[in-house]
Symmetry: D2
Subunit: 345 residues, 4 copies
């Protein structure tokens, strides 16, 4: 059994991770930590765990590294890079659900986030988008687990950029997210009456997932990709829909693009290409690790419009983290996260 | 492996059953049938099953009985009683998610529903409320799977009636249900804009779950129990909350009642008693087989107020149906339905 | 024009009051105050007022009393009773939307709330449930504007208690409220993801609206009425539904009770009795001053079940406050609050 | 008093129109008609009108024209063009809320919709986007009331196209709509459980509002504008948010564009430009005739991103229809539709 530790277990992503690992047949939770709820019963913090006895421990990174085979970190940005050292990595594997080990370019990191405290280790980290970087993840000591918007956006556009089919500077990604993406932190903007029955764009042209998407799509394209990225908040708990626009370099048919998408995703269990004329909706992937992707070619504008849908807490966070763990430890990638999405839920 | 057939697989309860059985380690789905979608891919009807190949078959009861060890029926009332015969029961076990085999008194059935077409078999059927009737279910050929409101209401009140602690004619059950309880049938009243941002009571003092609750509570009490039952529709997908009121015959403390509830439920895995001062909320049981129950004693009125919460499609339908299958086939009762409820979802 | 001041204009109820008074043809807003947003543009706090220039002032009770004909107070309990003095009442009329001037019995107030700082003035205050106390309100200097749950509950049950038709100790009120009733204050429990897709009971047998309902129903009945009151939180913005149960003293028909309800409410513009077999739903009164009331007689239990529906911020707070102002100043009671409820909204 | 008739009064838009006209000080409803509910009480169809007596009449176009000064038509496309004749127009003014009199190019109409039955009259019709075509509307006999998505999209982009600041073929409009836009017709896709907790794009690159937006923006630009338009369905009742992307021809600052927007909209009462860094959200315009517009310049991509928000049933349908009536009859444009948006609602 893989012994797992979870730092930051009382956020929504941390809690989803606790849930998935409790059901994982090859892993067991060794320790969960929480800054806000140290010493408290986990079932008091999350009564959905009412039948389970667990206590939120105080964090002790070194002790965790000693006891665990893998430590998951679900922390605000800037926190993980302070904790991970060469010494820690000698003892356990790290899967960081935060932003600290996602961007390969530290300058980009520091211009969008804050100071980075472990730049050497960042060089070693792999971007844990499993379907794209599977081979690079194997054997690695530290994984930067992708963001929710980014997972959905990159998977949706990867084949197009990889094959050089769209103009690199034409990409526009308009995303819609459920509210759980904002976490459990208390703020007026996330009160029920402020979110319900409304929709808004936020952090327009300035959201921190922008450079993450750009970096990965640039790697895929082999040249710089600069995007417009607009996140929106939708009155629902979970789910992300990415509506992606890109200008085709040449005139291509649906079938042409279908062949390209199948080249990359045909054998990917967790990526489900929708049939022609059918498009992803978040309800069909909610509470699962699936990413549904569909697209159409708009002949009038010679644009391709790609729709991607994931569950932000699952494939966009905890589920993919478990998928990364499975890869790191040589397990079947689907272990513990292979469930049909429930509906309606 | 238990071979299972599902009649009526394209309603919400039928679909939930398909999902649970697909993940069940000891069962496999032999056939699914649908009147409305015969011949169609299941994934076209429910795209959450996008990665799975299944086709909706035309129903053939005899063939199903031949091929299957158990047949689940998720049909409108009056349909199952036409299908189940002595001959069928010799070939397979039946778990009926509809109303036809729940009430033991056929007169009561016919006064609240319609003609009953297999009265002899009704006598043999057992009311499949697992925690109460476990021993009676074992070895039976046909199970009437309880209704959603009734599962929640009976479990909430059973210890009080069984022990004779409350006045039998004082019981009032005020329930709140998510919209999935109304099924996938198309009607103006269930349109998004008609349900969203509103709450209503319906079928006041006339809902068909009333006699089902009364019959079971009367059996528990050993004398007639006549209740007021008021269902309400709440703008959410899943979940039932039952707020139950009853006059205590004598003055009793919280501790007195706690002891009674623990006597019956302490060892029940799927029943979770909440701590004193903490009450069930549907979010903590959504998408699970758990029933959370909590209560308080109101000294001012000498009433006990009991709150119960379940997921109407899971413990209130498909989950309990699987639980009944597990009992019928001698499996661990939790097999295939033992999951921590996800949150937020 | 009536000059109005509003203390606490940045809560949900205060904001609703600002909106209604801005549209009132016989009133004008002289000053709005806010503790949290002193000096800030109101349109920055509530962008629905984006086209209107108003600034949140610092509160100065004496100055307000000088400048205004009427001062509305929308404050946490215990605050209004500190501000209202004989001197203030000589200068302006007071309509308090909080709890301080609702209960006539100061002992009851102090046992459910906190110390009361103006007991003499409390004696003078009138309970501003317009349809019941209209004549008493006229000419009064200070009005205790009823609570949201209480407005709905008392109006629903008043005729039955007034006429002595139900057992006084049998009354059970099970209410369902939208989230705006909890106000704009920030707390984890009111975050979108914590409220959405769930329903819960809270403050069971201990909510502060209990004594308010009991006092008014006791006055109506002419003898003590002790009730069970259970509020529930529903995932919607606005609206309260009260489901009320009471044992009939004698066997009475629907027509008997209909006659009683019409006796009291036939000419009440803002009370709409629903037709037989039709019951109130919050969507039909949302964003209006109407209270819809319907009922049925359950012959099986000899109970009457009454359903009442209001908008908690409108008839349950700001709308009724304006209605009280209209009465106090001799205007047509409907002035400024006579709108058809929008739907769907 | 203007005598008004409403054909199709039992759809959501028709019902909103009934509500607004009932409150309009200069108009009175002469007749309402409904195909589905002929002869029924309006309050039975929409219980929010519970206190008002009105009956749904059978439609008789000629009689309506005789009796009314203005007839509003809220019908499926293809219906209005069959009804409006020269003879009708001699007797009354027509405001059509459907699609039949919006497009000036009949070929475009017929390629996106169906046969058009009154092409001559179409030439006379004016596109009733009040803020843009106010002067053209005055004195006209027939108005094509704009669609909901189109009102929001055109108002958001008009100044940019009118001034030639953006590349005409670069415009992408990604819209998010509440469910009331789909009307009250019954379909599985609009059931609560199918819409709630999900988001989807639909009619991608093929929605009928596309040519309407293109025609108006082309007129504004003085050259062809071809757009990508993607509508999305959001789990809320009302509201449309349009997120618009366009490439700037030259490098322009926020201030440059601000000056342009103010040139066109500074004196428009119903258009509210948000402050720099603040963006429209549908909650701030819900249940009102306001259109909120905000924008930002993304230096990284040299794109302008404009956000527009309206209420789809109000400014996007019935409210703008009343605004058009006010213009046609020489009233103050705000008459009967000048209300602060309620919040939260």
């Amino acid at each position: 059994m893989i012994k797992a530790g979870i730092i930051g277990a009382t956020g929504y992503a941390g809690s989803e991770l606790v849930r998935l690992l409790l059901g994982h047949p090859e892993a067991e939770i060794e320790t969960i930590t929480s800054k806000s709820y140290t010493g408290q019963d986990y079932r008091a913090v999350y009564p959905n765990f009412n039948h389970i006895d667990m206590v939120c421990e105080e964090e002790n990174m070194e002790e965790l590294a000693e006891k665990c085979d893998v430590v998951f970190m679900a922390l605000p940005h800037g926190q993980a890079s302070k904790r991970v050292t060469e010494d820690i990595l000698k003892k356990c594997k790290i899967i960081d659900l935060g932003a600290d080990f996602r961007l390969q370019d530290t300058d980009v990191y520091e211009s969008w986030y804050c100071e980075h405290y472990s730049k050497e280790i960042l060089k070693e980290a792999v971007y844990g988008l499993c379907e794209i970087n599977r081979e690079k993840i194997k054997g690695r000591r530290i994984v930067g687990n992708p963001g929710c918007y980014t997972s959905c956006s990159i998977l949706s556009l990867y084949p197009l950029l990889r094959e050089g089919l769209v103009r690199e500077n034409s990409v526009i990604i308009d995303t819609k997210s459920g509210v759980s993406g904002a976490g459990r932190g208390v703020s007026q903007g996330n009160l029920f009456c402020e979110v319900n029955e409304s929709v808004k764009a936020y952090k327009i042209a300035s959201h921190r997932h922008t450079p993450e998407i750009e970096e990965q799509l640039s790697i895929a394209a082999g040249r710089p990709v600069i995007i417009s990225f607009t996140p929106h908040l939708i009155p629902m708990n979970r789910g992300i829909l990415a509506t992606c626009y890109a200008d085709l370099k040449e005139s291509l048919s649906y079938e042409d693009l279908r062949a390209v998408y199948e080249k990359y995703y045909k054998d990917e269990y967790f990526i489900r290409l929708t049939d022609r004329g059918v498009f992803p909706e978040t309800r069909w992937v909610k509470n699962s690790n699936f990413a549904d992707i569909g697209f159409t070619v708009d002949k009038r504008t010679n644009r391709v419009i790609v729709i991607g849908a994931i569950d932000n807490l699952y494939k966009g966070a905890a589920g993919q983290a478990v998928q990364n763990m499975n890869i790191l430890f040589g397990l079947d990638e689907k272990t513990g996260i292979d469930f049909v999405p429930p509906f309606p839920v």
